[in-house]
């Protein structure tokens, strides 16, 4: 095959055409792949705001149902500069996420109140508390974003000790950080290396309509902790961007377990 190609070696112009065609093919494949692989907004976000590691008054009450949350939130941060790999994709597709929390806080609150009328007082108290931390999060997050947008592309910001591929400022990593937050308060296990993989489907209102355990190492205690974390985290979910259902897989593990 090499020989055949060698014989037909085209001139510089042909080379350009070749190159273009191949790039186009690759581009097509990548985008196609993205479509095939479902509704995940994207795969390799680089910019990441770690909600989890910011100070939280009470991690247990990770519940953002502030009734006025939307009003006082700072404006959504500027769309993050596109990370390199995404040049291979359709730019239009990956831009929207920005900060879904700020953009869509209001509907979620409404939905929330519908669902939990009985606990309204409690919710309100929590909401006030939450709002404070929330705005702290936001400003810290914005700062971090600005710093990063201004300076180094792949900085140290984000989760300390994380590889940078952990997540991005998109909806899936937003959900991921919510789950992490809730998981902190529920994690318990009785086996050495427990693992549970769950696929979550979130409807356009931000509710989990389906959760499927796709794999479990069999630690019942750990499974309970995962389900509790999901239930807790769900209370703080905002609707996915673009009015679409969202589906993604999450793998739950104890920290530092199974990494070596």
């Amino acid at each position: 095959m090499r020989r055949a190609l060698k014989r037909n070696e085209p001139g510089p112009g042909g080379m350009l055409v070749w190159s273009f065609l191949l790039h186009a093919a690759l581009f097509f494949l990548v985008t196609q792949l993205n479509i095939l692989s479902g509704v995940q907004p994207d795969n390799a976000p680089v910019y990441y705001v770690d909600v989890v590691n910011l100070p939280v008054a009470r991690p247990r009450s990770g519940n953002p149902a502030g009734s006025t949350a939307g009003a006082t939130e700072p404006a959504p941060p500027p769309a993050a500069p596109k990370p390199q790999p995404e040049e291979m994709r359709l730019p239009a597709k990956t831009t929207p996420p920005s900060r879904p929390k700020t953009a869509t806080a209001a509907p979620s609150v409404k939905a929330k109140q519908d669902r939990q009328e009985t606990t309204q007082d409690f919710e309100e108290r929590l909401a006030r508390l939450q709002q404070e931390t929330e705005s702290r999060h936001e400003s810290a997050a914005l700062d971090a974003l600005r710093r990063r947008a201004a300076g180094r592309g792949k900085g140290q910001a984000g989760m300390p000790g994380a590889a940078g591929k952990e997540a991005g400022s998109d909806y899936s990593s937003y959900i991921q950080s919510r789950l992490k937050d809730a998981f902190k308060s529920t994690i318990t296990f009785q086996s050495r290396t427990p693992e549970v993989r769950v696929r979550l489907t979130i409807d356009r209102a931000g509710h989990i309509v389906r959760q499927r355990i796709e794999y479990s190492s069999g630690d019942r205690l750990f499974e309970g902790a995962v389900l509790q974390a999901i239930a807790k985290a769900e209370k703080s979910f905002t609707p996915p961007p673009g009015g679409q259902d969202f589906e993604h897989g999450f793998v739950f593990k104890p920290q530092g377990v199974g990494k070596n």
Binding site: W18, L26, L29, E214
Partner: protein, 193 residues
């Protein structure tokens, strides 16, 4: 050439990407197959009233108190009596080997036994409290047996002798120091009828 390489490499990459995608799908699918049970859990039906709750009569299985009457000490057939004429024999820690003083004592005991050949004697092996009780039962027996074997070599008829081990169950001295332990690592000679 270079471009040919480029084409080749690009094609390979595309293949890799596709393969990666496919592999992922297959993997997930496989796992779905593996784990059917836990899907989105159905909210466990809340039993509204009595009938739906599983009735479980808690019936204590009667555990009879021991039939004391049938077994109280009366089954102990032999009336044991310490043979004052027969001296105790002592051992080192975790040992059943007869020391020279022990052998001297046993020689004296043998003479008495040969003189009183109608008397049957049981040799009791005992241990100090430090070992485990199971192991000490076996050790106590070895102590009794080594005394018996020595007596037999001195001419005492074997049918005049029997052995039993009490391990650490019957200390002669209830203390918890070396003096007490030394007294407890012993063979005693008991006359039985």
């Amino acid at each position: 050439m270079r471009k040919g390489m480029a084409g080749l490499v690009t094609v390979l990459f595309c293949g890799a990407l596709l393969a990666g995608g496919c592999a992922k799908k297959e993997m997930v699918k496989g796992e779905e197959g593996v784990v059917p049970p836990v899907t989105t859990e159905k909210p466990s039906e809340t039993p509204p009233a009595k009938p739906s709750i599983k009735e479980e009569a808690v019936k204590e299985q009667p555990i009879k108190e021991a039939q004391a009457a049938t077994e109280t000490g009366k089954e102990q057939p032999v009336t044991a009596q310490a043979a004052t004429e027969l001296e105790k024999v002592f051992f080192d820690f975790d040992s059943f080997i007869l020391t020279q003083p022990s052998r001297d004592t046993l020689s004296k005991n043998a003479k008495w036994l040969l003189k009183n050949s109608q008397v049957k004697v049981q040799i009791e092996g005992h241990c100090d409290e430090r070992g485990s009780d199971e192991y000490n039962l076996a050790l106590g027996e070895k102590r009794a047996k080594s005394a018996m074997n020595y007596l037999v070599t001195l001419g005492v008829p074997a049918n005049q002798l029997s052995i039993i081990s009490y391990g650490k169950e019957k200390p002669a001295d209830p203390g918890h120091d070396e003096a007490a332990w030394a007294k407890n690592r012993r063979d005693e000679f008991v006359i039985i009828k």
